[in-house]
C-alpha cells in the first residue's frame, strides 16, 4: 500500500515539474499582462507621460455609452458570420470532395488551394485594392462592358465588410482546408463506401457520418476561424479603410488597436480589451455547455 501511494506522489510531482516551464512562460507572457490590462483599464494614460490618472470605471461607462458600441458589435458579428461561411463551411465541403470524390490529382488541388495562404496579407490587400478599384480596376471595366457601375465598395456599409472578409479568406481558406482535410480523411473509408452502396444521399452522408465523426477537428477549426479571422482581418482594414467609412468596417479587435495606438487612450483600449475577453469567454462557456457533448473525441 505504501509503495503505491509513494509512486502516485512521485508521479504527481513529476507532472508538476514537467508542467512548470509552461506555467512560468504562461504566467509571464499571458497572466501577468492580463492582470496589468485590468489594472490599466482603470486609468487614463497616453503611454508616454509619467502620470497616470485614476478614473475607476469611467472607461467602461464611456464604452457602453458610446454611440458606436452597437455598430462595432454588429460589424464584428457580420465579420464572424462571413468567416464561418467562406472559410469554414466551404472548406469543409471542399475537403469532403477532395477526400472522397476526387480520385486523381488530389495533391495538385491541395497545393493550389493552399498556395494563397502563403502570400502576405499586405500583398493580398494591395492586389485586391487594385482589382476592386471602382474607377480604374479590371472588375470595374468588366462591369462597364455590361453597362453596370462597379460599386464604390470602400464607401458602402456592409459591402466593405464583405470585401475585407474575402481578402482575409485569401489566408484563412487554405489553412482551414488542410486541417479539415486531415480530420475528414481520418474517417474510415468503409463507412462512406457502405453508405454509398445503400444509396444514401450525399448530404445525409455529410451530416450523419462525416460531420459527427470529424467533429473534434470541426469544433477546433470553428473556434480558430473566429479567432484568427478577426486577427488577420486587421491587416486589410489597416491598409485599406482604417475602420471607415465612418466606422463602417470597425470591429472590436481593430477598435482596441485604434484606441491604443492611434489615439493613445491606453486605459480605454484596455477596457475594450477586457470587454472583448468577457464577450468571447461567454461564447466559449456556451460552447462548452451545449456543444461539447456532441463532439466525438477518438479516445
Amino acid at each position: 500500500m505504501r509503495r503505491i501511494s509513494g509512486r502516485k506522489k512521485r508521479e504527481k510531482l513529476l507532472a508538476f515539474v514537467l508542467l512548470l516551464p509552461v506555467l512560468i512562460v504562461f504566467s509571464v507572457f499571458m497572466f501577468w499582462p492580463l492582470i496589468q490590462t485590468v489594472w490599466l483599464s482603470l486609468y487614463d494614460w497616453n503611454m508616454v507621460s509619467p502620470e497616470k490618472h485614476f478614473v475607476g470605471f469611467a472607461n467602461y461607462t464611456a464604452i457602453f455609452q458610446d454611440g458606436s458600441f452597437v455598430q462595432i458589435l454588429k460589424n464584428t458579428g457580420l465579420y464572424v458570420l462571413l468567416f464561418l461561411a467562406i472559410d469554414f463551411a466551404v472548406p469543409y465541403l471542399v475537403s469532403c470532395i477532395l477526400a472522397f470524390a476526387v480520385k486523381k490529382m488530389t495533391a495538385f488541388y491541395k497545393s493550389a488551394l493552399f498556395l494563397p495562404s502563403l502570400l502576405s496579407l499586405v500583398t493580398a490587400a494591395l492586389i485586391f485594392s487594385w482589382l476592386f478599384n471602382p474607377i480604374a480596376g479590371p472588375l470595374s471595366k468588366l462591369f462597364a462592358l455590361f453597362g453596370q457601375r462597379f460599386p464604390n465598395w470602400a464607401q458602402t456599409n456592409g459591402l466593405v465588410i464583405v470585401v475585407l472578409s474575402i481578402i482575409t479568406s485569401w489566408k484563412l481558406f487554405g489553412y482551414n482546408l488542410i486541417v479539415l482535410l486531415a480530420g475528414v480523411s481520418s474517417i474510415p473509408l468503409e463507412l462512406i463506401e457502405t453508405a454509398r452502396l445503400e444509396k444514401t444521399p450525399p448530404l445525409e452522408v455529410f451530416f450523419r457520418i462525416i460531420l459527427p465523426l470529424s467533429s473534434s477537428t470541426g469544433i477546433y477549426t470553428l473556434i480558430i476561424t473566429i479567432v484568427w479571422g478577426l486577427q488577420w482581418v486587421f491587416t486589410p482594414i489597416n491598409i485599406l479603410t482604417a475602420g471607415g467609412p465612418d466606422k463602417g468596417s470597425l470591429n472590436i479587435i481593430y477598435e482596441v488597436y485604434d484606441q491604443a495606438f492611434t489615439f493613445f487612450n491606453t486605459g480605454k483600449a484596455s477596457a475594450w480589451g477586457l470587454v472583448t475577453l468577457l464577450l468571447f469567454s461567454a461564447l466559449l462557456f456556451l460552447e462548452f455547455r451545449y456543444v461539447e457533448k456532441g463532439i466525438y473525441y477518438e479516445n
Binding site: V48, N133, A154, K247, F263
Partner: protein
C-alpha cells in the same frame, strides 16, 4: 523515384536560396556603401572610434523621394567621419511617425532627426521633447545669426508654435493644385484654353465630363487627413479652428464650411465626382479615367511619369471672388535627439539637408517647393520650373500657403479621426453637411474640454 525526389529537393533549396539572397542583395548594396564610409572612418589613425549614429525618420517611400534621401545619407556619411546618418522609412505617414516616436520614446530610444507633418506642429510641441534650431543656430559659429531670414516668412510660421518657439525648420513644402487630363476635357468639349478658376466652374466641368464621356469628372485627394477639406472650407471664408485665450476651438461648422462640404457632397451625388481614398485616387487619375484631380503637388512626378495623356496643373480654384487659402502640406525637420553628441550630429545633418543645393535637389527628387527665398529666386530654380511646368502652379501658390491646422491637446488625434468620419458620412450621403458638421464640431470641443 529517388532521383526525382533528389531533383525536387535540390530545386526547392535553390528557390529558397535565391529568394532569401535576392532580399539581401538590395539591402546589401545600400548598407555596403554606407559601411564603406564607416570603414574608411575606422581606418583613420587613432582619433575617431565609432561614428555616432544619427537616425533620420522620413515618410518618403521608394517612389517618392526615398532614393534621394539614401543618396544624401551616403554623400553625407562619405564626406565626414564623425556621424553616420541612418535613414529610416516610417509607415503610416506623419501619424505613423508620431506613433513610432511615442513608442520609441517610451522605450528610451528616440531618433535624432524626424520629419513632422505641419498639421502635427501643436500636438508634437506639446507632447514631445525637441531642441529648437534657434538655440542651435545661436551656438553654432559656422552659421550666420541671420540664417533664418533666408526662409520665406509664411513658411517659418508653419513650424513655429503658438507661443513663438521655433520647433523646427520647414523642409518639404507642398501645396494642393488641380491636375487636368486635357484629353478627357477635349473629348467632353470643355474649353482647355480657359481652364476653371472657380469651384463652380470646376464642378460644372466635371458634370460635363461625366455626362459626355465614360470618364469620372472630378476626384479630390482624401488621404488619412483633412487637408483638402481645410483648403475648401478656408477658401470659402470659413476656418477649421480658432484660438481664443490660448485654447483651440473647432469652428468649421460655419455657414461657409457647411456650404463648401455640401457642394462637394452634391457633386458626388450627381455622379460627376467620385469619393475614393488614399492612393486609389492617384492610380485612377493616372490610368486616364478621371478628368480632374485636386491633389498635392507632391504627387506630380509620380503622375507625370505614370500617365500617357496631356497633363497640366493650375492653382486651386477660388470660391467666387474670395481669396485662395491653401494649407501647406509637407513637413518640417526637428531634432529629437537627447544626448549632446547626437544633437550636434543631428544639427549637422539638418544643415546639410536645408542648404540651398539640398533644397534644389530635394525639389528635383520629389516635386516639393523650397521654402527658402534665395532658392525660389535663383536662376537654377527658375530654369527647373521652365523644364517642369507642372510645378509652376505650386510655386505660385506658396504665397497663399497657410498653416495646416491640427487639433491640439491629448485628444488631438481622436479629433482628427472624427473629422475623417464626418467627411465619410457627408460624402456618402449618410448625413447632410448641415447636420454632420455642427455635431462633429461639438463633439470635438467637448472632448477637448474634458480631456485637459
Amino acid at each position: 523515384m529517388k532521383k526525382l525526389k533528389a531533383i525536387q529537393t535540390f530545386a526547392a533549396l535553390c528557390l529558397l536560396a535565391s529568394v532569401t539572397l535576392s532580399g539581401c542583395g538590395t539591402s546589401g548594396a545600400a548598407s555596403g556603401s554606407a559601411s564603406g564610409g564607416a570603414q574608411s572612418a575606422s581606418a583613420k589613425p587613432a582619433e575617431a572610434g565609432e561614428p555616432v549614429t544619427i537616425e533620420y525618420w522620413h515618410i518618403n517611400s521608394k517612389t517618392f523621394g526615398g532614393p534621394t534621401i539614401d543618396q544624401y545619407a551616403q554623400a553625407f556619411n562619405k564626406c565626414q567621419s564623425k556621424y553616420k546618418v541612418v535613414p529610416r522609412f516610417i509607415e503610416g505617414v506623419y501619424g505613423g511617425v508620431l506613433q513610432n516616436l511615442q513608442a520609441d520614446t517610451a522605450a528610451g530610444n528616440p531618433p535624432a532627426v524626424i520629419q513632422v507633418g505641419y498639421s502635427y506642429l501643436d500636438y508634437f510641441s506639446k507632447n514631445f521633447k525637441y531642441t529648437s534650431p534657434a538655440d542651435l543656430i545661436q551656438n553654432d559659429s559656422s552659421v550666420s545669426p541671420d540664417y533664418l531670414k533666408g526662409f520665406k516668412e509664411n513658411t517659418l510660421k508653419l513650424s513655429t508654435a503658438a507661443d513663438g518657439t521655433l520647433v523646427g525648420l520647414p523642409y518639404s513644402l507642398s501645396v494642393p493644385v488641380m491636375y487636368y487630363n486635357l484629353d478627357i476635357l477635349k473629348k467632353a468639349g470643355v474649353d482647355t484654353e480657359k481652364l476653371p478658376t472657380t469651384w463652380d466652374q470646376v464642378y460644372s466641368a466635371a458634370k460635363q465630363i461625366s455626362d459626355k464621356t465614360k470618364s469620372t469628372g472630378l476626384v479630390i485627394q482624401c488621404s488619412k487627413d483633412f487637408w483638402l477639406g481645410q483648403c475648401m472650407i478656408e477658401s470659402n471664408g470659413g476656418s477649421l479652428a480658432k484660438t481664443a485665450d490660448g485654447k483651440m476651438q473647432a469652428s468649421f461648422a460655419s455657414a461657409e464650411g457647411v456650404e463648401a462640404m455640401q457642394q462637394w457632397a452634391d457633386a458626388i451625388k450627381n455622379g460627376s465626382t467620385k469619393y475614393i481614398l488614399n492612393e486609389e485616387s492617384k492610380s485612377a487619375f493616372m490610368s486616364g479615367n478621371v478628368g480632374i484631380l485636386a491633389a498635392s503637388i507632391g504627387w506630380s512626378s509620380a503622375i507625370d511619369s505614370g500617365s500617357s495623356f496631356q497633363l497640366v496643373t493650375t492653382k486651386m480654384p477660388a470660391y467666387g471672388q474670395k481669396p485662395l487659402k491653401a494649407p501647406a502640406g509637407g513637413n518640417f525637420l526637428t531634432i529629437t535627439a537627447q544626448s549632446e553628441e547626437k544633437k550636434k550630429g543631428a544639427w549637422e545633418w539638418v544643415k546639410y539637408l536645408t542648404s540651398a543645393e539640398g533644397y534644389l535637389d530635394w525639389t528635383k527628387g520629389t516635386g516639393y517647393i523650397p521654402p527658402r527665398t534665395d532658392v525660389l529666386e535663383s536662376s537654377e530654380f527658375k530654369d527647373y520650373l521652365k523644364k517642369n511646368p507642372l510645378l509652376q502652379a505650386a510655386a505660385e501658390t506658396v504665397d497663399y500657403a497657410n498653416p495646416w491646422i491640427s487639433f491640439s491637446g491629448s485628444a488631438g488625434m481622436e479629433a482628427d479621426q472624427k473629422l475623417l468620419d464626418m467627411r465619410d458620412a457627408v460624402m456618402n450621403g449618410k448625413q447632410t453637411a448641415a447636420k454632420a458638421l455642427p455635431a462633429t464640431q461639438n463633439e470635438i470641443n467637448q472632448m477637448a474640454a474634458s480631456k485637459k
